[in-house]
Amino acid sequence: MSAAADIVRASLPRASWSWGAALVGICFVLACGAPLGVNGYGLYLLTLTGIFALVALGLNFLTGYAGQISLCHASFFGVGAYATAILTQKAGVPYLLALLSGALFTTAIGAIVAVPALRLRNIYLAIATLGFGVVLQKIIFEWRSLTGGGGGLALAAPSIAGHEVGATGLYYLTLAVMSAGLFGAWNVSRGRTGRALLVIKDSEIAAGSLGIHAARYKVTAFAISAFYAAIAGGLFAYLVRYINPESFGVGLSISFLSMVVIGGLGTIGGSIVGAAFYVIVPELLRGIKDAPGLVFGLLLVVVMVFMPQGLWGMMRRLGRGSVG
């Protein structure tokens, strides 16, 4: 977000910069110490937030930066989950390696999905990605011998270097992966790829005149977002210890999209805020069926109409107001 950095630099005194850095530092320290202060369920929620934040970070590149709508990210998430699970359970591959391999495999699929999508826009793109999602979900469902089909797959706890990874271990792993993902995403947003994607979103013709191959970068955006979703999926599989194809459908893809949008399209902070929001709200509205759906749906509409910068944008404006 070098653009954001520029604006912040230009309009705020030096002091607020250190505030921002301090805030990130505090959050990180808190995150590291979390397992000491929360119970098992709280830890589960935190891990889940980290996992969804990863998905949102990746999807943000595709939808927030490159402006491409995708309704198949739940299936990238699912393929990542299944690939990791199958590699560890059935092929005895070490967990971390399986995580990475599963993600690379899904990235390849993401790149393949991107190719027909290159010439499609808006509703046509939405339907095509939806179609891909359905096909991938169906393949998982049908390939019973490999995936357990509709019955799902139950997973034993993973182990890293001989030690079993419990809830706390998985939390720290997720935190580590998420920090790495955050670092990578931040760097890309400040680099030529992030800028190229923003130009492509606005105008592919302008991108061409600047020497940017729109097609190549759209495929890259798909690939990056698929990679993030897949790693998240691999972590998710071992968080919930039971996966089945039903969970990775269009509904989840729409949820992923809402996370990114409500958090703030095109912002990295928004991805984390959106994910946290997505995990917290159903917890707060427990017991009132359909209430979470109502809240999310309403927020999607409200954000699009009144605050396109999302919750993150609102938070930043409030923060700027109190500092400046």
């Binding site: 339907i127 809402s258 359909d290 999310f296």
Partner: protein, 290 residues
């Protein structure tokens, strides 16, 4: 055997086409793909059910009122949600309608719960027509007939009435239409109202066969979009034929490929078509000038 499958597919395709027509009306005039179309129709259908069940109104009355409800629903949604988004990026409108989809679905769930209800149809007990040895349910014939009537009525309306002319002008070029005295928000409201109306018709026709619950329209909406995308979302006939083709393909795939893979197969075909023709089979690339 094939004839049976084809007829069954056409009947199913007609159901998709009903929703598809509502979508295309809104899309062509306001450039917004309404992902909430199905849920709007579902709400109107639940309203009709409530009228029949709680107030004891006869089918024709309940359905007529529900259709008006659909019209009002469309206009209200356009005024509240869509009007602020006119002229903005298309992605925002798509996401907003996705949000609306979830809102309406949750609302219906909160009011009517998640059980399945039986929605009556006046044609349920009529004997099926038999054409060439193939039985066709009266319901299906009615669906096809209503679909065609709506298409013809819409086409005539758009082509030959002043309001229709205004709608077409607005869909091509906002500025010029404004200069001609056409109010963009008014045409937008009319388009969404028509979409809601047609959606309500679709809902009450679909509900008897698919049973009424909050998930009634979910899958149908996707099929409607898919069929429309296949046939090209520019024209009513395109979406109609696309949806019929989708229905038939699904049925045939279900029988000859695999029942569970039928849906996936049709999406594969759609993706293949879009790869070669990004605007759909009958579609044309539309350039709208602000």
């Amino acid at each position: 055997m094939i004839a049976n499958l084809v007829v069954g597919g056409l009947a199913a395709g007609c159901l998709y086409a009903m929703v598809g027509i509502a979508i295309v009306i809104v899309l062509n005039i306001t450039d917004i793909a309404n992902f909430a179309q199905g849920e709007m129709a579902m709400l109107a259908t639940f309203f009709a059910y409530w009228l029949m069940d709680s107030l004891g109104l006869p089918w024709w009355q309940a359905v007529s009122i529900a259709i008006v409800f659909g019209l009002v629903e469309g206009i209200v949604i356009q005024q509240v949600v869509i009007r602020p988004l006119i002229g903005g990026p298309v992605l925002s409108a798509i996401i907003a309608t996705l949000g609306l989809n979830v809102v309406l679905n949750s609302l219906a769930g909160m009011i009517w719960g998640h059980q399945t209800y039986t929605f009556p149809s006046p044609f349920a007990f009529s004997a099926p027509f038999v054409i060439g040895g193939v039985p066709i349910a009266v319901d299906s014939v009615v669906n096809i007939a209503v679909g065609l009537v709506i298409i013809i009525a819409m086409t005539l309306f758009l082509r030959f009435s002043w309001t229709g002319l205004g709608l077409r002008a607005a869909s091509q070029n906002h500025t010029v239409a404004r200069l001609m005295g056409v109010s963009i928000t008014r045409t937008s409201a009319i388009a969404w109202g028509l979409g809601g109306l047609v959606g309500a018709v679709a809902g009450v026709l679909v509900a008897p066969s698919l049973f009424l619950d909050t998930n009634l329209m979910g899958a149908l909406l996707i099929k409607a979009f898919a069929g429309g995308v296949l046939g090209g979302l520019n024209s009513l006939i395109g979406v109609f034929l696309g949806c019929l083709a989708l229905g038939v393909t699904e049925n045939l795939a279900s029988a000859y490929v695999s029942p569970s893979f039928a849906e996936a197969t049709t999406f594969i075909i759609i993706i293949a078509v879009l790869t070669v023709r990004p605007e759909g089979i009958f579609g044309r690339i539309r350039v709208r000038k602000a």
